[in-house]
């Protein structure tokens, strides 16, 4: 996870980790090391958050750097700002690790230009499910305070948060760590040259070694990996065979909210919303005649499997799709499980900033013989034509 020779600077955390982050950003803006910051802020009705790009320091007081829930995936905010190029402003964005990982994927797809961004993450305890938060903001804040205290998700959190192994520092420029430390301090750790330069400019000395924090992370990670394993087993059983897949998505109403909420789905027009993807009425009638009956409209399972084929290699398991689903389909559980498989197939981890190209963009001859082995390993059911 981190290089043990790495050190961090200590920030006083009298106002909880979020307060320390806010003080840090204020200092960076006062010293003109950042022109603006992107942070969540409560919406006027108080039941959700919105991303605000602020260059007015006084607005910082109302910002909530570590928000309890995740209404719009941060990568989408970064995309809206930098999709045409890096721009001239130096901006610090504080986001959940899964948001930064999504931004990294989008940068490989030419949708985010992070050159002038300083991407900061924190030890993410998980995010409260959006619907829960909207229904009961005050209660949710209490839940989240508890999560922050323990550093890990509880029942109010999104299911994918329980299986998230990359909840802490992961190729960001700066990371705020608090796990395994006393409540009075927050570590600020540089993750890139950009990050180091910022800390140096702020006069923060890297004096604190990271062992206690790393130990805290590793412990939690072990728990999460266990939970990941058992959850994936359950998902696998649920998805068993084509009928399993069909039944998971059986109540899909075809709203495509999951696709709109997905940070990776960057297409201007989803292929599955285009006319080409629509079935010929004639062909539907013939299919119904042949099989005795078909469910209408027919494109629901195709939509989900097609979307999987398009984006699962870049899926960061942020869980936005499940939060967006009005009929409570565990979309994220399925996509997270599939993404785990596809990414392992190509030895790729979505969100890494290591110069690895997207697997579908490169051809390695060695991959070819592997396909056979994989099929055997996965014990795949091959549907029969008879």
């Amino acid at each position: 996870m981190t290089d043990s020779e790495l050190k961090g600077a200590v920030l006083p955390a009298l106002k909880k980790p979020g307060g320390a982050v806010r003080d840090f950003l204020r200092l960076a803006m006062e010293k003109e090391l950042a022109d603006a910051v992107i942070l969540p802020m409560k919406v006027p009705s108080g039941d959700s958050f919105a991303w605000i790009l602020m260059n007015d320091i006084s607005l910082l007081d109302d910002a909530v750097p570590i928000a309890a829930t995740m209404p719009v995936q941060g990568a989408k905010a970064l995309r809206s700002l930098t999709r045409k190029g890096p721009g001239n402003l130096k901006i610090i964005a504080v986001m959940r690790p899964c948001e930064i990982r999504a931004a990294m994927e989008l940068s490989k797809l030419g949708q985010v230009h992070p050159e002038n961004l300083i991407l900061a993450t924190y030890d993410c305890p998980g995010a409260v499910q959006l619907q829960k938060y909207v229904d009961d903001p005050a209660g949710s804040e209490e839940y989240f305070a508890g999560m922050l205290q323990k550093g890990k998700p509880d029942d109010s959190a999104k299911p994918v948060c329980h299986t998230c192994e990359n909840f802490s520092m992961f190729d960001s420029d700066i990371h705020f760590g608090y796990l395994g430390l006393s409540e009075k301090e927050v570590l600020v750790i540089p993750g890139s040259e950009k990050g180091s330069a910022l800390l140096e400019g702020l006069g923060l000395d890297l004096t604190k070694d990271l062992q206690a924090w790393e130990k805290g992370i590793d412990q939690l990670k072990a728990d999460k990996l266990n939970s990941r394993k058992s959850t994936f087993e359950e998902t696998k059983a649920q998805l068993n065979g084509f009928n399993g897949l069909l039944s998971v998505f059986a109540n899909c109403i075809g709203c495509h909210n999951c696709q709109s909420a997905c940070p990776i789905c960057y297409c201007r027009l989803c292929y599955f919303d285009s006319e080409t993807a629509e079935q010929d009425p004639d062909a539907l009638i013939t299919a119904a005649e042949k099989r005795g009956g078909i469910s209408l409209p027919v494109d629901r399972i195709m939509f989900h499997t097609g979307r999987m084929a398009h984006m699962s290699l870049s899926c960061v398991s942020c869980g936005q799709c499940s939060d967006a689903c009005p009929v409570s389909i565990p979309v994220a559980d399925v996509f997270s499980y599939v993404a785990d498989q596809t990414q392992r197939t190509f030895e790729y981890t979505a969100g890494r900033n290591d110069g690895d190209p997207l697997p579908l963009r490169q051809f390695r001859k060695a991959e070819l013989p592997g396909v056979h082995e994989l099929v055997k390993d996965a014990d795949a059911e091959v549907p029969s034509h008879e």
Partner: protein, 572 residues
Amino acid sequence: MKEFEMREAGQDKNLRAKVGVYICECGPNIAGKVDLDKIIADLSQLDDYQDVELVVKKYGFLCSGPGKEFLEEEIRSNGYTHLVVGACSPRDHDSTFMGVCKKTDLNPYLYRIINIREHCTWVIDDKEKATEKAFSYIRGGISRVLRQSELFEKPLDINPDVLVIGGGIAGMEAALSLSGEDRRVFLVEKTDHLGGISLDLSGLLPGQGEIIKNKIDSVTEDKNIRLFLNTSVETVIGFLGNFEIELVSIENAETTDIMAGAIVVATGSSLFDPGESAHLSYSESDEVYTSLSVEKMFSGEGEARLRSGKKPSSVALIHCVGREEKNYCSGICCSYMMKLAGFFRNQSPDIQVTEFYRDLCLPQKDDQERYTEAEAAGVEFVRIKDISIKGTEVSFEKMNSKKSEQSFDMVVLAPAIVPSADTEELADLLTVPLDESGFFQEVHKMTNPVGTSTDGVFIVGTAHGPKGVSDSMQFARASAGQILTRLIPGEKLIPEVKVTEILEAYCTGCGNCLDVCVYGAIYSDDSRGISVVNEAVCRGCGNCYGSCPSGALRTKHFTNTQLYREVDEALR
């Protein structure tokens, strides 16, 4: 932005069309294996489409002269809007029937061949099943052809001039074969002289030195060859018939822009560094030489001497140096090592020559004879399983697992032929892939070894792979042949019509298509944040189409709508 979708979708309804469906009997190949009369009757009764009139007929051999005339007359007299031919593989006769359409008013892209021979009659014994499948396929073909669009060929002016990169024997041969009154050749060489590696080989065969010297003179004197010494290629943009090239002088960085219609790559190769081999350890002072340096001794002094100045009395010739590391056989070493053995024996019959080899590769017509002669003359051939060399001490394991050691006055290594240092850079510039060994990748090993995936770029000589002087020259002539027949001064070139187009409104500029395009036909327009296809370079392979998640790409004549509707019908 939805224009093409609407156009294709619109064709589902109110389509007025008259489709001719012609089934080739292919002698007994098709007629004997399916019930053609049933297929014709069933197809004639199809009521899949309103306002579509189907005319279904059969004919003995549609690809024959009379068959083509029959088809042409049928298209003319019936006024078909679309044509489906049920026959053989498109690889056999797609272009034949497109040619027939071109003679009529019917646009050749409103025709479709359906392969009922290879896909049905040749592979299904049961006549009933074959009949059923052939019917479904033709029905799919009708569905597809109704969604096809007219496409038009756009002839392009061409530049007949040629850029040859590399002034070795292959490059010179290509340049001389190509230059003429109406065709200039730009010959670019990065060193300050012509001839390349062949200069070091001169004198080895009777008259060879003269041949190479004459070639250099011919090139220098040819007024249609413009020679650029100490020059390298900086940029290449374009396609067959129209390349824009920037050359840069290595001496003073001065650039020259030239235009050419084709590019011949004759950049040669280099030798495997024996120092990289785990089997060898020696230092500069040891009496260990590469085959090329010994060739130089013979071509210069006429005889080989040790560093001490003495003449060797025993020589070990080591074949296959680097073969294990490189994992290929260089193919020419055996033959030149036997040549060297001959030179040593000529120098003095007392020199004991031993050749150590893993496999003998004797592909040229007189190789076998030379081998027999060498053996008769007392050259010892030792086939080995393993070998290690320390200075001039040779330890080896024979095929019968017997291990021995022997000391020699002189050790001569035959290092593998490897790609020259700047191959990768040049490949990138020309968007030509490299093969597993790092040489330029040809279109097809047997049928087109000089062509590359970038149409208009040819590879000759050892840039293509290890080969001798004569093969290098033949490759050069082969490339010249292809260029001479395709870039005829004054004639136009018809680029691929079935290219991919990008629907700008859908494109988000993610660059997937750009990375998977093997022809370098797609570039990124940063100011608009989209990808753009250079239609003149695109070959319509469809890689990009498959890589685009949003359907912003469409390969003409192979659109999703066309393919899906064909499949829908075939599986109906």
